[in-house]
């Protein structure tokens, strides 16, 4: 590790000197606080915004509408907060290089009980940042209070930094390279506080805390507060295409080039693995060939949707929840069958929720179930119709006659006391399809019967058998007094 190169990464792009009281702006530039910070003082500051998350492949036909533009970043406070991560790295390098540090870590000062040790170079053979001491201090520290995350973490950070051993000043002139502990300590300072790994694609919040962009997005699915200090964050849309912290990106690539590349590869592999199984949304009964609009708000499904959108054909499976009380393996058979939904358009909302329009394509059976980050995934087998055997085709009324029975029943309904029912359903589900394979689904949607009963259509691989099941339901309805008397009660 080349200390001079690290140092160069930490230069202020405005004054070209080592950053002093650095603050990271919404554009991703980090500058000394003494410069003008709103707007960014750099000439021609126009960082390329990151491609709107998720990264939609060129082949995808999904219509992705990003959230409405975020309100402008909150005006910077009178004295902006320093970038916590960069500040820690500067202090670490200072302690190694033995330069006088005059950084003003106001947030740490609150909690620091001991005066800062004189900054001197760590001797290579001296004990590293004393873990045992840290342990000791945690126990004594009254700030380790239950809810007080901020003070806890800050004091932990202060302790970590307060450990420069007292070494004689004659050691100052030792030549580089740095002590072996530096690499480890730097890695600690550059770890994401959510995944505990080396920061990847670091994004810095207005409260100057830095996380991997993917980690921050997942945290925002759950809460609008900064995971570290609980300041409220500007919301999902603010971070949707937020530029990364450029200083940290350069520093990571300089200090840990191999590790940084490996992290990127590992994340890509994880995402690939996540797509190996079919994501399953457990919500409602849907038949093939219909549009469905869905509101995504649960954190786990937001993540699922982001992952879906990175596929060429973004789609997920939809199944009904198992009926309450149905013993698994006893009566939950219908819950193993579902329908694939292809995502047609996504309107992101500012807070990370989204309105999603889908079109249902094919049916499937779940062969094996699992869970991924809270949502269901499965290995599925597609279900398609098989041609009807001649004996089945010849027995009983023809397909046309069956369809005619259905149509007649719907006409009867329409003439009944509640014509609006059918009118409304016609509007929702469109005109009756001519194809017998699709006709039964269309009728089933309108029939006032139990959803679990309707779900029995999903496993049937014969258009004719589906028609017969629907006609069976119609016969049962006709046998009910309340139906034949024309009184439709929903």
């Amino acid at each position: 590790m080349d200390l001079a190169a690290l140092r160069a990464c930490l230069a202020c792009p405005v004054c070209a000197r080592t950053l002093q009281n650095p603050t990271t702006l919404p554009c991703g530039h980090t500058v000394c606080q003494t410069h003008q910070i709103s707007p960014c003082p750099l000439p021609h500051c126009a960082p390329p915004p990151r491609p709107a998350r998720p990264r939609i492949p060129p082949a995808s036909r999904v219509n992705y509408l990003p959230p409405p533009p975020a309100p402008l970043a909150p005006p910077p406070e009178h004295t902006p907060k320093p970038d916590v991560t960069i500040n820690k790295v500067l202090a670490l390098l200072d302690s190694v290089l033995g330069e006088d540090s005059s950084y003003d870590d106001d947030d740490d000062d609150i909690l620091r009980s001991a005066p800062r040790s004189p900054t001197v170079r760590t001797r290579p053979d001296s004990p590293g940042p004393s873990r045992p001491r840290k342990r000791q201090r945690i126990h004594d520290d009254p700030s380790d209070d239950e809810g007080d995350l901020l003070s806890h973490l800050m004091s932990a950070a202060a302790r970590q930094r307060d450990t420069a051993p007292h070494v004689s000043l004659t050691d100052r002139m030792r030549p580089l390279p740095p002590p072996p502990s530096l690499e480890k300590e730097l890695q600690t300072e550059l770890a994401c506080e959510i995944c505990f790994m080396l920061l990847y694609s670091p994004v810095t919040t207005p409260c100057q805390h830095t996380f991997c962009s993917k980690c921050l997005h997942r945290a925002l699915d759950h809460s609008n507060l900064c995971p570290l200090c609980r300041d409220s964050l500007p919301g999902f849309s603010f971070f949707d295409d937020h530029p990364g912290n450029q200083t940290l990106e350069t520093l990571l690539a300089t200090a840990f080039p191999a590790e940084y590349t490996a992290r990127g590869a590992a994340i890509a592999a994880e995402e690939r693995d996540a797509r190996l199984d079919t994501p399953i949304f457990v919500c409602m009964l849907i038949f093939p060939g219909h549009p469905t609009a869905l509101h995504f708000f649960e954190p786990r499904y937001r993540l699922m949707l982001r992952r879906c959108l990175e596929q060429d054909v973004p789609s997920f499976g939809m199944i009904m929840p198992a009926r309450t009380g149905a013993g698994a393996g006893v009566t939950a058979q219908t819950a193993d069958y579902g329908t694939m939904l292809e995502v047609r358009s996504v309107q992101m909302l500012a807070d990370g929720r989204s309105m999603v329009e889908t079109w249902s394509t094919y049916r499937f059976r779940i062969l094996e179930r699992g869970t991924l980050d809270g949502y269901t995934v499965g290995r599925i087998e597609r279900i398609d119709d098989v041609p009807d055997s001649p004996s089945l085709t010849l027995a009983g009324p023809s397909n046309e006659e069956l369809m005619e029975t259905c149509t007649a029943f719907l006409h009867q309904l329409r003439r009944g006391t509640a014509p609006w029912v059918v009118q409304r359903l016609n509007n929702v589900y469109g005109a009756p399809p001519a194809d017998p394979a699709a006709f039964a689904y269309w009728v089933a949607l309108i029939l006032p019967i139990d959803e679990f009963e309707k779900a029995k259509l999903l496993p049937i691989r014969s258009a004719r058998l589906r028609l017969r099941l629907v006609v069976h339901w119609i016969e049962q309805l006709n046998n009910n007094w309340w139906f034949t008397s024309g009184c439709v009660i929903f």
Partner: protein
């Protein structure tokens, strides 16, 4: 491999669900002893299904969750006398081999399932008209 919820946390989840009330109220369950830290012994109640000989009867059951729950099915015993093919007429013990929800037990099954399935059995065509011991009698 998804996270496997350990026995005690699984039983806490079931307890909280049971406290909120399940389904239409025709079945319920709770801890026999509210400070049983191992949560082994449970009471269940089934209200007999309508249009059967069980209508309006209230059946009490004892359910025991062993160390290997939910990998292993719980032991179930009727405290109220009842005449059902899967219940021992002497002790009220439910024969797990003869009750599908116990025979094909999986981790996805639950105490709620057990009670709901027993109630379904009571209403099945084969069982709904079986002669029953006097109402309120206990094993």
């Amino acid at each position: 491999m998804a996270a496997k919820v350990p026995r005690n946390f699984r039983l806490l989840e079931e307890l909280e669900k049971g406290e909120k009330g399940i389904g239409d109220g025709s079945c319920s369950y709770g801890l026999e002893d509210s400070d049983d830290i191992m949560m082994s012994n449970w009471n269940g109640t089934i209200i007999g299904p309508g249009h059967t000989v069980h209508e309006n009867r209230i059946y009490s059951l004892k359910i025991t969750c062993g160390e290997n729950y939910p990998d292993a099915a719980p032991a179930v015993q009727f405290l109220s006398r009842v005449n059902l093919p899967f219940v021992s007429p002497q002790t009220g013990t439910v024969d797990p081999a003869r009750l599908p929800v116990l025979a094909s037990w999986t981790r996805a099954s639950s105490l709620e399932h057990v009670l709901v399935e027993i109630r379904k059995e009571m209403a099945s065509p084969a069982n709904r008209k079986l002669p029953q011991p006097p109402e309120g009698s206990m094993f």
